[in-house]
Amino acid sequence: MTRHVFLDHQSATPVYPEVFEVMKPYFTEHFGNASSLHQHGLRVRDALRTARQQMAALIHADSEEEIFFTSDGTESSNLAIKGAAYANERKGKHLVVSATEHPSVMNSVEFLEKQGWTCTRVGVTPSGHLRLKELEAAMTPQTVIVAVHHVNHDIGTIQPMKEVGRICAAAGVPLYVDCEASAGWLPVDVKDWGAAMVSFSPHRFYGPKGVGVLYRNKRARIVSILHGGVQEGGRRAGTENIPAIVGGGKAAEMAIGRLTARGEHTALLQRRLWEGLHSRVSFIKLNGPVPGPERISTNLNISTEFIEGEGQLLLCDLSGIAVASGSSCVSKSLKISHVLGAIGLDHALAQGNIIMTLGEGNTAEDIDYVIDSFAGIVTKLRAMSPMWDEFECGVIDSVIAPTGRGKSFSQHAAEVSGKASH
């Protein structure tokens, strides 16, 4: 086995050599603290400003002063949600989020709910699109923030941000857009959307780990959630992670130049991969929109029936293919991805979930190798699966292509486990 195919760009990307190159001097040589008033501090302040400008340019922000650095996407989401909630308590204690936001948004909201806030979770269609009428209806005079992510991390659905922005503007509620799954791959335009806040992380587009970005429009009010010194204009205390910030800035700059090429390259591979898998593997389903304008070109989320996701993931890995899964066996919490729940995916299909995310380094040959390998893996796991047998004998039916024979997987699972599946 020689081929290695990395199809988990949603989890990690390698730092570009060019990015690493600009970071290097900031470890051993330009090691100053940005709060210091001497040479060592002033030099890295300059570097900080440049990085802020690069970040602002990526998302079409007016000014570098609207860019704050955090440690990662999670912290940015927490700061956006909690920072807005605490800052605007007097207006009200109501939040609105889409049902498929990342856990860093969902769990921030749950935390606030324990402290007396209420939250409306706006549902999505089976393809993962926000129900705009519901969004409109969710807003109250007490609503202090609406959170809608640009692209879903699991199923790749692109939300209609301009319309979402219009609805929020009409209701006079600031909009926070989590762009962790899109920035660096798709155009992000904070002004076009009328976003009050936008977050993203360079480690998702060939930048380093250890830095997250929060754009905040000057008119939007937030307070700090990590308290201490007066770094980042008092909005984020703590010693700035200069090398990561510098590298992140460079990654943003490079992303601007490569956005179109990235989109075109991955869109070709996405189609090739899905068409290949679809033609080679029976009872396989694409979750989220079909490849095209409503889906980010890097993401494929598939469910293969009668087998479970972790086994697929491990066998892929043993074939040199790195993928992810939203199956409950893969999560430490033994729950399926809440996104798969929110789009109403049948539990059997959620269990058989695999997420493949493409990047610049993938080639057509890689894709063909993946298609071949994956078809073999499915065959191997189905041979082990009691469900495959029982489907073939007509005891249970397929969800993807129902035959009219047998009971559902869920019913069967409930019978043999004595409890309803979740």
Binding site: F306, E308, L314, C329, A383, M384, A413, S417, S421
Partner: protein, 143 residues
């Protein structure tokens, strides 16, 4: 990459990649199929029993790597045991024989124990006469 990193220890990986006793037994004497509500795994164990002793065992599993490895190991361990012995079989034996499982995956070994017990129960149902040694062993399958 030179080294290979694995999620589970080498024994678990071995049983996942090269499962023992995978399949069904034609004309099995007892078949048990159980599911874990926790994560949706389903496990099926078939037994061939002769003279109160498990002659052969097979499994089929819909589940994660440790579920597959657990059923593989459970079927290995159980072969050759008497029904009475098999009734005292515990998931801990699977975990031990596998050299350990991550805490969040212990339930996979419990599922293997349950599948085995379900298969034995099925056998006893079909062969009520075999129930006596069970009671002798101080266990009741119907409890």
């Amino acid at each position: 990459m030179s080294e290979t990193y694995t999620l589970y220890n080498p024994t678990v990986m071995d049983h996942f990649m090269n499962p023992r006793n995978m399949g069904d037994l034609k004309d099995a004497d007892g078949v048990g199929e159980v599911g874990a509500a926790a994560c949706g795994d389903i496990m099926k164990i078939s037994l061939r029993i002769k003279d109160g002793r498990i002659e052969d065992a097979r499994f089929k599993t819909f589940g994660c790597g440790s579920a597959i490895a657990s059923s593989s190991m459970a079927t290995e361990l159980i072969k050759g045991r008497t029904i009475a012995e098999a009734l005292t079989f515990s998931n801990e034996e699977v975990v031990h024989a596998l050299g350990g499982l991550p805490p969040v995956k212990i339930h996979c070994s419990v599922l293997a124990e349950e599948a085995l017990k379900a298969a034995l129960e099925d056998y006893v149902k079909r062969h009520p006469e075999s129930a006596s040694p069970v009671i002798v062993a101080g266990q009741s399958l119907t409890a």
